[in-house]
């Protein structure tokens, strides 16, 4: 029975991190500041730790049997078979355990569903209840969500409803800013709830670092963030302003109004329904934004229909100059094609997100040299993705095909957790032909590379951050799970 939670973690960390929090402000100020995630003065120095286990996947070379990992001040010092353990080192020995680097989810969504306990969808922020005391007649029964929701969405009845509510959020709920279609000047980190229980769940799944990708509700959305899932709150945010996220296909059309209702039943036109309503519109908004950015750079004054908001332009220009990376989410074949086409028009390099039908565009992706953050893998799409018409033709073999085609790719579970979480994604990929080593790489080194953190995270090599997971068995076996998770040289999760 596992009662490990972020809250306790945060609570205990809070005392130590009281001062380090202050430094977070400075950290956030550094645009693109990819500082070394661990810092010696984060709380009191962890000192020297030696982790011994039956097997160590370093991800830099072959796996080491009966290996030892020596951690000093939150950084890996030595990894090897027979390393003498420095005196005074705290020794953690799990003979039948297997060590891997902390897993990295390259396209994660936190509190995507309605967070447990939260009554509003505002990613964990409890709705403000100053005057609620008088308005409410009866306390809300935990197992009885409002009938309207039930009838519309869950013919299975209330029993299934709560599960579903927490599993997949209604399609129109989103973090993204709805005021404009183009919002690269917004940062997802501002919407992020570092205290969310979701991080604890990620941690329990062996994920120690996550690239938080903005929602797909805008054609050009905000900027992602790289965060650690544990450790002092002040050290969590590794990169506050990452890549700009763009979205092809139906999501910008669909998000913001319930896509499972016929149009006339949707909400009255407002910010949420202001978006383009066809793929023509989506592509146009994308093109127009970068066109205007280029124009503004040339000193001309942009204008006309769908002009992006002024503060967006500088960021777009940085994207054009390649100083800010670009990610484009596309699921279906022709959305991927339009992504490639638009990138071609503006000479943009980008990373493809989700790529459900990437298996149908292998040659093109290969040619364009576009890396893919692929996932999640599924046979039947769940949650809101299931309500889009873009998840109809998944291929469980896609990871293998990407590997065969020599396309750089990382796996992601996005909003999925636990049995569909990151490591399980890799498991499914292996079941469908991906080589095991390859699969491990696709959730450690590959994402690290995409985040520009190669050598710092995602591998167990001297000088890398001491983020590692000790599994009860081989990480990709159905019967094993994380026993111990170390982040920044501190044990942040232990299976009791």
């Amino acid at each position: 029975m596992n009662r490990q939670t972020l809250a306790t973690r945060a609570g205990s960390v809070a005392a130590r991190a009281a001062r380090t929090w202050v430094r977070c402000g400075l950290m956030l100020l550094m645009v693109l500041g990819l500082s070394l995630p661990v810092s010696a003065e984060g709380g009191e120095p962890p000192g020297v730790i030696a982790v011994k286990a039956g097997r160590v996947h370093t991800m830099t070379g072959d796996a080491i049997d009966h290996g030892v990992v020596i951690i000093r001040d939150g950084v890996i010092e030595v990894v090897g078979r027979d390393v003498e353990i420095p005196a005074g080192a705290e020794v953690i020995e799990l003979p039948d355990g297997v060590i891997t680097p902390g897993l990295i989810d390259a396209c994660c969504m936190v509190d995507f569903g309605i967070p447990e306990g939260a009554t509003g969808w505002l990613h964990g922020a409890k709705p403000y209840s100053f005057w609620r005391a008088l308005s409410e007649i009866q306390p809300e029964a935990p197992d009885a969500p409002s009938i309207s929701v039930l009838d519309r969405e869950f013919p299975a009845g209330p029993v299934g409803a709560v599960e579903k509510l927490t599993a997949g959020q209604p399609a129109h709920a989103t973090w993204a800013d709805q005021a404009y279609e183009v919002t690269p000047h917004r940062r997802v980190v501002d919407s992020l709830n570092l205290l969310s229980n979701d991080f604890a769940r990620l941690l329990r799944g062996g994920v120690t670092m996550a690239y938080i990708s903005p929602d797909s509700a805008n054609v050009i959305g905000g900027r992602g963030a790289v965060v650690k899932t544990a450790g002092p709150l002040g050290d969590r945010v590794v990169c506050a302003a990452g890549a700009v996220k763009a979205t092809m296909g139906g999501d910008p059309i669909r998000r913001g109004l319930p896509n499972y209702l016929p149009p006339m039943y949707g909400p009255t036109p407002n910010f949420h329904t202001r978006r383009p309503t066809t793929r023509m519109g989506v592509d146009w908004v994308f093109r127009k934004a970068f066109f205007d950015a280029a124009k503004a750079q040339a000193g001309e004054k942009p204008g006309g229909a769908d002009a992006p908001p002024p503060p967006a332009l500088p960021v777009l220009q940085q994207v054009l100059e390649g100083r800010v990376p670009l990610r484009i989410q596309a699921r279906m074949q022709h959305d991927i094609f339009s992504a490639l086409r638009l990138a071609e028009e503006f000479k943009l390099n980008f990373i493809l997100e989700e790529g459900t039908e990437a298996y149908r565009c292998l040659p093109q992706l290969q040619a364009a040299g576009v890396p893919v953050v692929f996932g999640p893998l599924y046979m039947t799409a769940s949650g809101y993705r299931g309500r889009t018409d873009e998840a109809r033709r998944p291929r469980l073999t896609t990871p293998r095909q990407l590997a065969d085609a020599g396309i750089a790719f990382a796996l992601t579970a996005q909003e999925l957790r636990d049995e569909e979480g990151l490591v399980r994604q890799a498991m499914v990929a292996v079941r469908h032909g991906l080589d095991e080593e390859e699969a491990l790489r696709s959730i450690t080194t590959a994402p690290a590379a995409m985040l520009g953190l190669s050598g710092k995270v995602g591998e167990l090599s001297p000088g890398a951050a001491a983020d590692l997971v000790v599994w009860s068995g081989e990480p990709l076996s159905a019967t094993s799970r994380p026993k111990l998770v170390v982040v920044g040289g501190e044990v942040v999760y232990e299976l009791e």
Binding site: T5, D143, G157, E163, Y359, L362, S382, D404, R431, R481
Partner: protein
């Protein structure tokens, strides 16, 4: 709803598969079939490293490392593979078009009338190694109807039937639009009404009897009811009371000689989603005399009621999601409880059911078992929880659930150890019929084929 309804419309491929299955179905089961060279996991006894299973007329003839194979046996060489008993899905509403009737109390209904053999659900069962499905009315009810144990092959329900329905469906968890009070009130009311009904039936029967012998009525109702009890015949009982009377088998008010044994008593699956529903379920069962035929279908929260469950010591069916999460009101922390571990530690007999369809892994019974092992449940217990235990619950342990002579020849051939996530179902034998072969699985091949798959989507349209 996901899955099933999505599958619903792919008629073209449907036909293909049904035919594939049908060739097996065409004639009677082959005389003799032998699976040789495989690793055998009989579940109820020690595994056999390399052995043979000999099937004769749909029954297992013999199992062992050295079984001599008759000349006329159709031999399948499964060396390097694993032979596992057919998996049993002990409680699901899948296979029906809708889980529940809109009315709260419908004891007269029978899933027999609603099972749709052409549903891809059954085809998926084969892929996952499930050879027996107990189709039940859904949970959104007060008193549902009768269930039925079927095998996932056959073109008609009779052809599919393994055993007729012997379990009724009850729920102490409020159905939609009800609260606990009304739910329980309705249940109580039903069983009281049942008593009244039996009384009046007895009275009526007595009067009829007198009429038949041309006698005049000589006693008042009270006396007539006493005398009439023994006169009730099975056909007198009307539909909506029959199954309830059978459920209460033990203490039907018609307590004559043959009174109680009017019918074969029914078992019952009682759905308790919350811990607080367990107590009432047990009490209801005890008060109405079907306690020892009760199986509890639990929700995740029920681990809190583990004390009560222990006292009741009835077999339980676990929820689809094996990890139960709840948020602490005060701290906002999420408490996690792994249900099987708690239930196992309480020493209860439990069965696993496949997880939600939209979870690729959890929908496999074998993965659910692996999950249990991951969290410390012994391997053999976990394996039994998808084979022998369900068979016991359904009273079919003589026929299903393990590999031993005289049992139905329901076998699954895995490419590797069933708990290994990378092993797949290669063949399925049901009553000796080669019911499934991975190599011939059109839809699966389509889903797995590499290369730019054109005309794909079959499986998902």
């Amino acid at each position: 709803m996901t899955g099933c309804s999505k599958y619903g419309s792919a008629m073209g491929l449907m036909v293909a598969v049904v035919l594939a299955v049908a060739d097996g179905m065409a004639g009677p089961p082959p005389e003799r079939v032998a699976l040789t060279g495989g690793r055998i996991i009989p579940v109820n006894s020690a595994p056999i490293a390399k052995g043979t299973v000999l099937i004769e007329r749909g029954k297992i003839k013999s199992v062992g490392p050295a079984v001599e194979i008759p000349y006329d046996a159709r031999v399948f060489d499964v060396s390097g593979k694993v032979i596992f008993p057919g998996i049993i899905n002990v409680h699901t509403w899948r296979g029906l078009d809708r889980a529940n009737e809109a009315r709260p109390v419908t004891p007269q209904l029978d899933v027999y009338d609603a099972i749709d053999p052409s549903q891809l659900f059954f085809e998926d069962c084969l892929r996952l190694g499930v050879t027996a499905v107990h189709v039940m009315p859904g949970n959104d009810t007060v008193i549902g109807g009768l269930g039925q144990v079927v095998r996932p092959i056959g073109l008609t329900v009779p052809a599919m039937t393994i055993a007729p329905g012997e379990h009724l469906k009850l729920s102490t968890t409020p159905r939609r639009g009800f609260d606990h009070m009304v739910q329980m009130a309705t249940l109580r009311e039903r069983f009281l009404e049942l008593g009244d009904y039996a009384e009046r039936l007895a009275e009526r029967r007595y009067e009829e009897k007198l009429k038949e012998d041309g006698k005049e009525l000589d006693v008042g109702p009270a006396e007539a009811r006493k005398r009439g009890r023994s006169l009730i015949r099975a056909e007198d009982v009307d539909d909506e009371h029959r199954n309830l009377l059978r459920l209460c088998g033990g203490r039907v008010r018609v307590a004559g000689k043959e009174g109680a044994s009017l019918f074969k008593p029914l078992g019952v699956f009682v759905h308790c989603n919350r811990a607080m529903d367990v107590g009432p379920a047990v009490e209801l069962a005890k008060r109405n005399g079907f306690f020892d035929r009760t199986i509890l279908v639990l929700g995740g929260e029920c681990t809190k009621a583990v004390g009560e469950l222990k006292r009741a010591a009835r077999p339980v069916v676990l929820p689809q999601r094996l990890m139960y999460r709840e948020t602490d009101l005060h701290t906002g922390e999420v408490r996690e409880t792994f249900v099987p571990t708690a239930i196992f530690e309480a020493g209860l007999m439990f069965a696993l059911v496949p997880g939600p369809d939209d979870s690729y892994a959890e929908r496999m019974p074998t993965y659910q078992a692996a999950l249990c092992v991951r969290h410390g449940v012994p391997r053999d217990v976990a394996l039994r929880a998808i084979t022998l235990t369900p068979a016991r619950m359904l009273g079919l342990e003589k026929r299903l659930g393990s590999i031993e002579p005289e049992k139905d020849a329901n076998l699954v051939v895995f490419s590797g150890d069933p708990l290994d996530f990378n092993s797949v179902v290669e063949r399925v034998f049901i009553d000796g019929i080669p019911a499934y072969e991975r190599a011939k699985d059109v839809r699966l091949q389509r889903l797995l084929t590499s290369g730019p798959g054109e005309g794909e989507g079959g499986s998902k349209e």
